[in-house]
Symmetry: C2
Subunit: 463 residues, 2 copies
């Protein structure tokens, strides 16, 4: 394939790409919001439409108990490998809405970036795959690989219906490699392949006492305050070295070899840049590890939200009836989310005082994952990145979670290539999420080139 021709074609379509992506972004597919059920279906249908227009065949919506899965394929390269592309069309909630500079569901270009919920995570990246396919078709290229696409609408709420679908549709999804574009590059114009993801265990921890809020004058000081107990418990979840105190939490954590830690240390990193990206006051974390190690190779525990009692303007003098914390733990190999949730629950049982009711509600979870970096599909992705970005890619891990990566690996026996085009500071779960437009266009090119590299290196089916 003529790279110059591909590149010119993609560059000539920029306006059209932005318009089409804006249409997808406009659909408020917030999977965590039970009131958005219709938007989820509308979004799945819109994605199906784009797939058909691009030339993808046998496009089909698979109903689930939750949001529909979208499947499509193009299988005509008999002797060449088959690639399964995964993405998700659901997005994170948008609150606090007031902090968005432009409305979250109206895509807006400012500077070098496209601002909108889902621009980076993951509508924008899903869209790049459709446009890479379309570009090859429009340029009358023979498709160098067989392609299958599976897009879900529940990634942000734990992919609960994807796993059973994968396990019950192994033939349909059978492939030689899975490609996922849902991670971040290490920095702007720094091509990156991600080979490791943390897993996750998410739960709600609640402390309750009276059935209703009580007047703090009439009852304050004579009954236990649920907020105080919740604060005590949260306070006891870390020690002074930043380590999680849940007993046996670290038992299954695999020691990372010194060579890998040295590799991580060689990556461009400064506290100043990290603080600029995060907007945080200081670097802080588990004693004895660097920032990238804390993010990639160490498990963590964070309260993602806390609430109880009066949270409005002004003052209200009550003993709250209940207080709740949303807690997530990021896991690394070989921690298992189910075991970790049980360890957490046991610890809470052990430390919960008798003066209140303390409950743990397990929510979703996913396992950590690693991809062998010497796999031919990873090498092909590396070459594709080098061709488009003009330099060799870095190999990194990521602190986030894509639970389905492990499911694909386990259920299909297929390695997963994490070829993400986001950026760490693109606020993918916060107001003003955005996507760096150069990565958007170069990503489309990279994906198209990847298919050629996969084919031309004789990456035989079944390997």
């Amino acid at each position: 394939m003529d790279y110059m021709k591909l590149s010119a074609y993609v560059d000539s379509r920029k306006r059209e790409y932005l318009d089409e992506l804006s249409g997808i972004i406009r659909i408020e597919s917030v999977s965590a919001d039970p009131l958005k059920k219709k938007e989820m279906v509308r979004c799945a249908e819109a994605i199906s439409g784009l797939m058909r227009e691009a030339g993808i065949e046998n496009v089909e919506l698979f109903e689930t108990q939750g949001n529909p899965l979208v499947y499509g394929e193009y299988v005509h390269a008999d002797d060449n490998p088959t690639v399964l592309v995964y993405g998700h069309y659901d997005v994170q909630p948008v609150d606090p809405l007031s902090e968005w500079e432009t409305p979250p569901f109206e895509a807006a270009v400012r500077g070098d970036d496209l601002y909108a919920r889902g621009s980076s995570d993951d509508k924008g990246q899903l869209f790049m795959h459709l446009k890479a396919f379309e570009a090859l078709r429009k340029l009358n290229e023979n498709m160098p690989v067989n392609l299958k696409y599976i897009f879900e609408g529940e990634e942000e709420i734990g992919s609960i219906h994807l796993e059973p679908f994968i396990r019950s549709h192994k033939d349909l999804l059978k492939a030689d490699a899975v490609v996922i574009s849902d991670t971040a590059m290490y920095g702007r114009d720094i091509p990156t392949i991600c080979y490791g993801l943390r897993g996750m265990a998410y739960l709600e921890l609640s402390v309750s006492n009276s059935a209703i809020d009580l007047h703090s004058g009439s009852f304050g000081g004579a009954i236990e305050n649920p907020v105080h107990v919740l604060a005590d418990i949260v306070s006891r979840l870390h020690d002074k070295y930043g380590r999680v105190t849940v007993p046996h939490f670290y038992d299954d954590v695999v020691d990372v070899p010194n060579e890998e830690r040295e590799e991580i240390a060689r990556l461009p990193y400064t506290d100043a840049e990290f603080l600029r990206q995060s907007g945080a006051v200081a670097v802080y974390g588990e004693y004895g590890f660097t920032t990238n190690e804390r993010l990639w190779i160490r498990p963590t525990l964070d309260v993602n939200g806390i609430y109880g009692g009066f949270t409005g303007e002004g003052a209200k003098t009550i003993i709250p009836s209940k207080a709740t914390a949303k807690v997530s733990m990021r896991l690394v190999p070989d921690q298992k989310s189910e075991k970790i949730l049980e360890l957490f629950e046991s610890f809470i049982d052990q430390i919960a005082p008798p003066t209140v009711k303390v409950t743990v509600r397990k929510m979703h979870s996913g396992e950590p994952a690693l991809t062998p970096i010497d796999h031919p599909a990873v090498k092909a992705a590396s070459e594709a990145l080098e061709q488009v970005f003009g330099k060799k890619p870095y190999f990194i891990r990521e602190g986030g979670s894509i639970p389905e990566v492990l499911t694909f690996q386990e259920a299909l026996g297929t390695p997963v290539v994490l070829l993400g085009f986001g950026l760490p500071d693109e606020k993918s779960h916060a107001p003003n999420e955005h996507l760096y437009l150069r990565h958007f266009y170069d990503g489309i090119k990279t994906i198209a080139i990847l298919f050629e590299k996969l084919s031309s290196r004789g990456f035989a089916p079944g390997i």
Copy 2:
């Protein structure tokens, strides 16, 4: 005065009283809500109307920087004492709205009680004073005392404009005794006079880090989580004996004499009844004190609300940018709210970690107060209660705060009689607030009788 005639008159007006009170309750005078400014004025005007109808003279609205004060008087008993009646027409917020069995601003009788926001605290009790006056007038009784009325609309947000008004209108408000009906009786049909109130110091404690919520996968474990720090701080505010750890917090607490603690111990009390009233799991508080002592003679610290990060349905994986706790401290003689707020602030300065920003925002405050129980006005109230309820009243303290009590005492040199007709389990700051109707009607009678007792015991002006 013929008590039977008074009693029969009040009993014949029950339907009318409920209808008129419902009209006042319907006005959503939530002082903590900046959007209810118009309702505050409407409520002040409605109260003024009721006063005029009752026969109270020179009714006037005094504008303040906040909500208007309502004044009225009836000064015709030249040789008899003057009583200043205080009440408030503002109410607490109603959230969580979903927990109300009937709409908070539509008064509803169920069983022996009237349900509505403000039914007990304090619209219902303010209304009883107007109807006691009206009853005496309608029965063609000579008013046995001179009366002055001052009603405010900012009690639930700290009475910020009342204190300067009292200080600058000492002549207008000059009286021999102040009567306030804004406290609770010890139990149903147990006549009670309250002689002590706790003070209050209210503040907001915030911990912030990044300017925006961050993806917990990309940043979790490498920066400080504001919720963790807030939990640490809240957790450090009490020791294992339930004592507040703020240094010097107890320095000014006056030891209560053993005789008074013995009196408190003689009051009817069981843990079972206290737990029924509170709905709490267990009795808990400062080591070495009984429940009533913890509520009345010991200072306390409570978090009234906490919030930060994602608080919606489902799961969101973020490091919250900020977390906030609303904190109130209930004070006893001779603690001073200003000093306590400074001690709190110093303690936070001392323990705040360098990895985040920690701020304390002082909100409202009020001082604790005691009334001498041998004052003639207290004796008159005691006799009035005995006549209407048929038994001698208990003398109790209350755990709540009415900051203006001390202002009246200090600015006017006048003792304050706390003649409340609420009940401890009437949920005055919670959903389903209600007022026991027998106390409502008997309260009207008691107030009318009180005026006669004040006059007939030769309680001379200026005493």
